[in-house]
């Protein structure tokens, strides 16, 4: 009896360790252009960039190989930050996935910071969660040429904590 129990526990332990949750994030664009059309209306000479610029960029997130009722939290952070005072806002489109996979405490948006912040709370496997992006507080005098945007996504077990 004891041996069986030990074997069962070891089996569960190994299964649990070997189970590899997968996370994939695919962007629609590898390069996003910011042009004079993104200046603050009426886009005349002397104008700076609009305070919030919706980017022609989207991403699809896929979380697989998790148990059907497992709760998890997707977090995101950016390191290093974008040049100047510009920041990136990420908006999860909750309507892009079935309602039963949306957990509690899913935030409506995330301002990218160097520390991980909750982006989406999920239940079980999720496919094609859509993310949209806006560029905030870009300035003509600070944001020039090509600037890489690095975003790290973390998948944690357990739902997201309540927001502030």
């Amino acid at each position: 009896m004891l041996v069986r129990m030990i074997l069962l526990i070891v089996y569960l332990l190994i299964i649990n360790i070997l189970k590899g949750q997968s996370l994939a994030v695919n962007y629609s664009q590898s390069l996003v252009e910011i042009t004079g059309t993104h200046l603050h209306p009426p886009q005349t000479a002397g104008a700076d960039y609009a305070s919030s610029i919706p980017l022609n960029q989207g991403a699809f997130v896929s979380v697989q190989d998790v148990r059907s009722r497992a709760t998890w939290c997707l977090l995101a952070y950016g390191n290093p930050p974008i040049q100047g005072s510009a920041t990136l806002k990420i908006i999860p489109d909750i309507a892009s996935v079935p309602p039963e996979v949306v957990g509690t405490n899913t935030p409506s948006e995330l301002m990218l910071q160097v520390q991980p912040q909750p982006l989406f709370s999920g239940i079980g496997p999720v496919d094609q969660l859509f993310l949209s992006f806006t560029l905030e507080h870009a300035q003509v005098s600070q944001n020039v040429n090509t600037s890489p945007v690095y975003i790290q996504y973390q998948l944690q077990e357990g739902g997201c904590p309540p927001g502030p």
Binding site: L23, A24, L31, I34, G36, A47, D48, T146, S147, I151
Partner: protein
């Protein structure tokens, strides 16, 4: 002994089983933001009304008249290509030749700045000025630009009206 083994395994299991703090996996991504060079230059349109006929002591129109007008120039420029050029041109009424110059302006900052006075002695079209300076991108609220135009007595007499519109355009290349 049995109890101790079970407790040890359970403890190990609890340790290795993911909790709310455990990171399952992490994905590193990146894309590029490309900020296109912006060169917007606006010159307020201004009508220059010629003064009433300027006469000399002989009662004839002066051989050379001079007009000056200040234009409010506002621009936003982000770095363009190396060695940017600011080109301006003026269109004068048909049949009128001109000689004119711009007073140089040197903005405190900006990608394009106008080099020393440009003078043109051609017909009715103008002119390119050298540019120097590549000192920043701060938007300028206004840069006074003075255009002086002079013409001959004959040209003066050819003016068919007292109101003429000088169209000036600016382009940062």
């Amino acid at each position: 002994m049995k109890h101790r083994i079970i407790c040890s395994i359970l403890a190990l299991f609890a340790f290795l089983t993911p909790s709310a703090q455990i990171i399952w996996t992490e994905e590193h991504t990146h894309f590029d933001l490309h900020f296109e060079p912006i060169a917007l230059i606006a010159v307020s349109q201004q009508e220059i009304q010629l003064s009433p006929s300027m006469t000399t002591t002989s009662g004839l129109p002066a051989f050379t008249d001079s007009l000056s007008a200040s234009f409010h120039l506002r621009y936003t420029i982000s770095p363009v290509s190396p060695g940017p050029q600011l080109v301006h041109s003026v269109s004068l009424p048909i049949g009128l030749s001109s000689s004119w110059s711009t007073i140089p302006f040197l903005p405190a900052s900006g990608t394009c700045s106008l080099a020393p006075s440009a003078t043109h002695n051609g017909t009715d079209q103008l002119l390119a000025s050298n540019i120097f300076g590549h000192s920043g991108t701060a938007p300028q609220d206004g840069i006074p630009l003075t255009v002086r135009i002079s013409w001959s007595h004959q040209q003066y007499q050819n003016l068919v009206a007292n109101l003429h519109l000088l169209n000036l355009t600016y382009q940062c290349l």
